[in-house]
Symmetry: C2
Subunit: 346 residues, 2 copies
């Protein structure tokens, strides 16, 4: 066993869409775990849209990754050394190990996984942060009621597909939005959406809205917001009185920097948004899932049996090799993934 590991650092901050030059692939020494710490050999790491926000030097809900620092990521792998009584070599664990082949963290920061129960990759998607985000946002702020209509974009992604399926099981009409005909087929097929619209097929928000209106004859009661931009513009006038909008992200604006703060949007004005919230008595709630981990056990208890029983489907898009993480990430920001984006590291 060599004592060499590899990591991907933030080489420079992107202006607009990230490029390969913003990342650097670097060798480093494998750390030695201190008291209470656990060393893990990463098998799979997660790529998620929120990471784009961490690349900006803007006050957000989390500190930015410093230039030269390892890119942040959740990952799963095998314990190879432990200074904690709670973990032993051969155990599997989830932790925020970053874009790296190895990670060393206090045992209290890790979650033990049982590979016999569920594939360890599910801890990155359907039974991890993204699935939990969809379930929590929908149940806590969306307050779904049977017979209502829900719209969610990125419908085949790990958040959108969870939202759609939990809503369908609760008796809602579910309308997805996705990029491309193939993804729309996945949404209505594998994920059981009642309908799915390809946003790329509509030149502007107005045309998308016309199509949405047909698929939502009774209006929209819940819009689960994860994209912003054209979809938000299309959806807003269709919201029903007393509608709910949980906001977990707005990927369409991230490349403008500052997690969207720098974005301009032709079709949406602040007074128009604000007015819509007022006149339709909307409830709009922003959230980040890391504030709500007290509900994680309830999530697993409710959702894991349905995933393992096949009632809730999931889909993973697994790229190979840590060195390909930057290209995969850049592609994902443009919708190049199909399902939960994961990188196989080992």
């Amino acid at each position: 066993m060599t004592d060499q590991m590899y990591r991907i650092a933030l080489a420079s901050r992107p202006e607009g869409a990230p490029t390969a030059e913003n990342f650097s692939y670097e060798a480093a020494q494998i750390p030695t775990p201190g008291a209470g710490e656990v060393l893990v050999r990463v098998h799979y790491m997660s790529l998620d849209p929120y990471m784009r926000g961490r690349m900006d030097d803007a006050k957000s809900y989390a500190a930015p990754v410093p230039v030269g620092g390892t890119m942040e990521a959740g990952a799963v792998g095998e314990v190879i050394a432990s200074q904690s009584p709670h973990f032993k070599p051969g155990d599997f664990a989830f932790g925020m190990f970053g874009w790296a082949t190895h990670g060393c963290l206090p045992a209290s920061h890790l979650r033990k996984l049982d590979p016999a129960q569920a594939p360890i990759t599910t801890a990155l998607g359907v039974l991890g942060m993204p699935g939990f985000t969809g379930w929590h946002g929908l149940t806590e702020y969306g307050k779904p009621k049977a017979g209502e209509t829900l719209v969610v974009a990125a419908a085949t992604g790990p958040v959108g597909s969870m939202v759609g399926q939990v809503a369908r099981l609760a008796g809602l009409r579910t309308v997805g939005i996705a990029g491309g005909a193939d993804k729309c087929e996945l949404a209505t097929g594998r994920f059981g959406f009642d309908a799915c619209l390809d946003h790329r097929a509509y030149e502007n928000a107005r045309d998308l809205r016309t199509a949405l209106k047909q698929e939502c004859p009774d209006g929209i009661d819940i819009y689960f917001e994860n994209v912003g931009g054209k979809v938000l513009e299309a959806v807003m006038p269709l919201m029903n009185p007393f509608g709910r909008i949980p906001i977990c992200g707005m990927i369409a604006w991230y490349n403008a920097g500052g997690l969207g703060a720098g974005a301009r949007d032709q079709g949406l004005t602040a007074p128009g948004l604000w007015r819509n919230i007022l006149v339709n008595f909307l409830s709009v709630n922003g959230f980040i899932i890391s504030n709500h981990f007290d509900r994680f056990p309830q999530f697993l208890q409710e959702v894991a049996p349905k995933v393992l029983g096949g009632e809730i489907a999931y889909l993973e898009d697994i790229a190979e090799g840590l060195e390909n993480a930057p290209a995969t990430f850049i592609s994902m920001l443009g919708g190049g993934n199909v399902g939960k984006q994961i990188v196989k590291v080992i």
Copy 2:
């Protein structure tokens, strides 16, 4: 007794700020109450910012006033004829009688008032729709907690002054915003705000924000939204994580038409607003008080004793004469009133 009454009709729809030409003062015949109806001689009528929205021909939460129709208003007066067992001549009642000297409505649309309990004008302000709006919005969506900081604009108006006082009694630090030094003195004096800023003293949102920051050293937990515009722009970056924004109005944008839909705002972008909701985990709730009259008895039970006991102060600005209602209304939209704007009709 003559059978002549007077009313003010919407003569034409305003473009921008309303002018005298948008209104017409007209004579009409006093109606005769039908079965179950009650005829009231109006003593006082209410002028409220929401009426500006009713003048536009735009889909809103209420139907627009038709051109030629009587302007909408809540009013209080004396019953002069009744075809209902629930009212007799000499009773006092509140109802939506409009901008008029007389009104005839079904008894079920009226609320009986006891002039011995409280001045009947209070049914238009502190113990009527505006006070109820402040109390409901604050308690239901603001969720005030002792030690937190609240900001509200139009701090000497009937909504803002209720919000500030209920919040202060709940143990919050209360910071008002008002137009002019006199109103600020009223806010901190009569209404007990901890501080009040004169928005006219600050050229732009940035300067107002700097001043607000000083008065809100621990940030803002609740922003009770009734104005939009420069105040919203100043407040938004100061919101604390998990902050709450009840929205009952946005008067700064109303004159742009469509209850603000047509407004443009240099300082605020839709992506910027949306991002702020996300990264600070804000809860933003639009509401119109007419959906919540089930809580009105609770409001009266909690608040009326405090008003009658002097614990909650109120202030009325009473103009004389129905014919002066348009000029008074136009002035009020520009902040010309001091306290709840009422018109003495009789």
